[in-house]
């Protein structure tokens, strides 16, 4: 039971963060349990291993590199319009596409509404054509027959 308890509280036990009673109980257990001693020793070795090495330090040119980055950043601000234009390209392409689709849909609607094509029931006035195009009587009759589908 105590072996299991130790396994569940290993980190807190190593860091001495357990309530005193529990800490003492596990210490007593550890004194008598060889496998738990080994586990605790191995575990604390790994768990504390990172505390042992010296932390790396930033390079000597740390500050000057920051200044360079800041200068690059401010230089890039002038390039912003180009970047902005680049960003606008897909937007412009999208707008062009939408406009094309809208125009074609409108055109289709206009065509379907019949304002561009004479409906089958429309009767064309041949005499108006005759006046407009200076047709003689025979030509007028021909136009009348042809356009109004009369036999």
């Amino acid at each position: 039971m105590s072996c299991l308890l130790l396994k569940h509280h290993l980190i807190d036990f190593i860091e001495h963060k357990l309530p005193q009673e529990k800490q003492l109980k596990l210490q007593d257990h550890l004194a008598n349990c060889r496998s738990c001693q080994e586990l605790c020793h191995r575990f604390s070795g790994v768990y504390n291993s990172l505390d042992e090495y010296p932390l790396p330090e930033p390079s000597a040119y740390f500050y000057s590199k920051i200044v360079t980055k800041l200068e690059d950043q401010s230089a890039n601000e002038y390039v912003l319009p180009v970047k902005f234009l680049r960003l606008l390209k897909p937007v412009a392409a999208g707008l062009f596409l939408v406009t094309g689709i809208t125009v074609s849909l409108l055109f289709r609607e206009v065509v379907n509404s019949g304002s561009l094509v004479a409906s089958p029931n429309t009767t064309i006035d041949a005499s108006a054509w005759a006046n407009e195009f200076y047709l003689d009587n025979n030509e007028e009759t021909m136009v009348d027959l042809l356009l109004n589908n009369e036999n």
């Binding site: 396994k7 586990l39 575990f43 790994v46 291993s49 090495y53 790396p56 930033p58 920051i66 980055k69």
Partner: protein, 189 residues
């Protein structure tokens, strides 16, 4: 120089104040980045970006927290973004391996699981085991745990850095420790 004096000087674009800020906090920011990224070059690059952002956005700093807390927050967020970006790139590269028909342009990639997370440092087997175990923790647990163990920050400050509640931090660190325990104990068995 107090924090508020430093902020006023930075807002006025005082170069000496910025140099002072960098000198005072570079070690702290660099270590925080290093503990998240485990790569010296990336840590230095991100730490520099933290100061660049600090310089550019100091006017937006409302002074509700300490400068150090604010810098930690920026450092953690930038590191988190890089970790995510690297993971995404690894995923894409892995997928590219399986793409048919482009064997000639295929790059010989490292296995991400075999990646050296402590590049540029000498390390023992124990340290590698611990790094891998910490690295496998969920993101927020990893951040809270490393800030507590390696930066030795109080739970309240971690809560401010992670912009969460104190109880959430307690829970994150508790779960991180349980997960680490489980991973390390199973490694020894």
């Amino acid at each position: 120089m107090t924090d508020s004096e430093l902020i006023i000087a930075l807002v006025n674009r005082n170069e000496n104040a910025f140099k002072y800020l960098v000198e005072k906090y570079q070690g702290m920011v660099y270590n925080a980045c290093f503990h998240q990224l485990r790569n010296m070059e990336d840590a230095e690059d991100i730490a520099q970006e933290v100061f660049v952002e600090a310089y550019l956005s100091i006017s937006g700093f409302r002074g509700e927290s300490k400068i150090s807390t604010w810098l930690y927050r920026v450092a953690i967020n930038k590191s988190k973004n890089l970790v995510r970006k690297n993971k995404w790139q690894m995923l894409v590269q892995r997928l590219e391996k399986f793409m048919p028909g482009d064997k000639q342009v295929k790059i010989d990639l490292e296995d991400p699981s075999a990646q050296d997370h402590m590049e540029g440092m000498e390390k023992t087997e124990d340290q590698k085991i611990l790094w891998n175990a910490i690295n496998s923790l969920p993101e927020n647990q990893r951040i809270a745990f490393t800030l507590n163990k390696y930066e030795e920050l109080a739970y309240q400050e971690i809560a401010e850095i992670m912009q969460t509640s104190l109880s959430a931090v307690e829970s994150l660190i508790h779960r991180a420790k349980l997960n680490l325990q489980k991973k390390l104990v199973s490694h020894f068995n």
